[in-house]
């Protein structure tokens, strides 16, 4: 049964519809990420769950209770902000204990809870410091502890790692996930970073222009994107212009070269233009035999990235990028050389809609 339900929620600012018919049911203890580019409505949706924005239509339920009309301080949700939002005039311990003080908990209860939270975020000795005396990563951990101290029903995180440098981001996202699992708290996480969403989430909601494009597990979202937007936004993707030859058999032509999609081309007519997509890691540079698709072209670009060498092969209109591991005994091919690439039929994704749509 769903613990957090977002039912047909819409949000408009004047004539601008920033969230359109958003439906989602989140199970207790689940970690769900809203992923999308800036302005796609993910933060607005989160803010509606928190109570900072009122939906134009629809309902939000937490644990079967309609909270749509409740004020943020009545919803019992914890929020972590991108800018940390720690109270500068209070020490770390006071920040963490703020919600408990507001709830008029006795001091004998607040102190051990604050200590427990500081231990949880691995900053037990920093309770007497002020936020300005902490690094960005430490401040965000304190913000997490502060949000969790009041034992909220739902934890909401609005791009909490965006302001941190890459190394801290990676370690902190692991910490957040560990803490979330330990406490079993239902969590909604907003991010525009696909790596963050893929590595942390039980499920991902990919959003674009106020609409939900796809909801699925990281595995489903990455491997089976349903729309061109999801395919291009999540991971690196080669998108080529294809012409459907035989929809039932999955036969397609790209720049005059025949290839086959294992799952067929559902709902397409022969002669129809379709975008076909391939992940770089699905493509190899070889003379493969068997039933793998093969295409021939010229090597247009070779980028040496250290452990990986990225090669772009141009056909006519379309091109494909593929990654190969660096091998010190085999130098990368030179530009302008003819090359044959191959990929499994099952790896070829035929996207909904015409190319360029």
């Amino acid at each position: 049964m769903a613990f957090l339900e977002i039912e047909s929620v819409r949000k408009s600012f004047g004539a601008q519809h920033v969230v359109q018919n958003f439906d989602l049911a989140i199970k207790r203890g689940e970690f769900v990420s809203f992923l999308g580019p800036s302005g796609c409505g993910k933060t607005t949706t989160l803010r509606m769950v928190a109570g900072f924005e009122a939906p134009s239509a629809g309902k939000i339920r937490i644990d079967d209770k309609d909270v749509t009309q409740l004020r943020p301080n009545q919803r019992h949700v914890g929020m972590v902000f991108q800018s940390y939002a720690l109270f500068p005039n209070m020490t770390v311990a006071d920040n963490v204990g703020f919600g408990l003080k507001v709830a008029k908990k006795p001091a004998a209860e607040i102190r051990p809870r604050v200590e427990e939270m500081l231990r949880l975020i691995k900053l037990p000795a920093l309770g007497s410091r002020y936020p300005s005396q902490l690094s960005g990563g430490q401040q965000q951990r304190v913000a997490l502890a502060r949000a969790l101290a009041v034992k909220p029903q739902v934890l909401l995180l609005d791009e909490p790692l965006s302001a941190l440098d890459a190394k801290i981001r990676v370690s902190l996202r692991e910490e957040i996930r560990t803490v979330q699992r330990e406490l079993g708290i239902t969590t909604v996480y907003v991010t525009h970073d696909q790596e963050e969403a893929l590595s942390m989430s039980d499920r991902i909601v990919v959003m674009n222009e106020g609409k939900v494009e796809q909801i699925g597990t990281p595995f489903e979202i990455y491997n089976f994107p349903r729309t061109r937007f999801v395919a291009s936004f999540v991971g690196t993707l080669n998108i080529m212009r294809g012409r459907v030859v035989d929809p039932a058999a999955g036969k397609i032509e790209v720049d005059g070269q025949p290839i086959v999609a294992a799952q067929g081309v559902a709902g397409a007519q022969a002669g129809e233009q379709r975008a076909v997509a391939l992940r770089p890691e699905a493509v190899t540079l070889d003379q493969a035999t068997g039933d793998r698709n093969r295409m021939q072209g010229l090597i247009e670009e070779v980028s040496f990235l250290g452990a990986v060498v990225r090669i772009r092969v141009r056909f006519k209109e379309s091109a494909i990028s593929l990654d190969t591991f660096n091998n010190p005994n085999v130098p990368p091919p030179g530009r302008g050389q003819p090359a044959t690439v191959s990929f499994a039929r099952a790896d070829l994704l035929v996207l909904e809609g015409a190319p360029g749509a």
Binding site: F52, N73, G78, M79, L134
Partner: protein, 267 residues
Amino acid sequence: MKQSKIGAWIALVVGALYFVVPLIGTFEFSLRMRRGAYSFDAYRVVLTDPRFQATFGYSTVLAFATIVVGVVLVVPTAYWIQLRLPRLRPIVEFITLLPLVIPAIVLVFGYLRIYGSSSLLPMTSNERATDVLLMFSYVTLALPYMYRAVDTGLRSIDVRTLTEAAESLGAGWATILFKVIFPNVRVAVLSGAFLTFAIVIGEFTMASLLDRPAFGPYLQLIGANRAYEPSALAIIAFIVTWACMGLLQVFGRGTKALAAPAPGRVK
């Protein structure tokens, strides 16, 4: 030394002389009360004058009342405008600037017309009510300084996010305002408070026309009838103003230390 630096030094020295020379002149003159010798006689006369003590005490009490009412009026207003009504900011800024544009004498005649003894709300009919009217007129007079100081303080913090963070932790408006927002704009509020104090202590027009025993009319009275005492009073008023500025710096430094990153920050 570069030519631009020399120019800057010359400008600084000329500016300093422009301000310091009259001050030194006034101070030197205030010491000449005793014929043929420098003395603090003028200061002694002024400080022991019961009217000085009464008027200074009256203006000080009124200044504190003005500060309290000003803070209670301005802080929630500026906070609400920053948080919910940013579109109203230009209108409110315009309104708060009006006391700088409209002369005090025009304001006080307006008050007398609206709150005079024959009006619906006769606030000049007894002394206490007139004191209240004078205090509110001082609130108006200090509004440009108090509002700007508080608004600048609010702009320096992320009011919206701090409010939302406190709200999500269960806090109501009173808790947010007094526990979260107010402590973080303390220096700005103090800045507005000290400016208000300095304005009220020296204000003449309103107190004089409302016939209240404030320090401003006393300064004018002494200035019109005595020779050395007005200079002593000017120096005393100057010291009071600078003491306010000094206190502002002291309080400001305390908060800056709080906001400064600690050495050896761990990334």
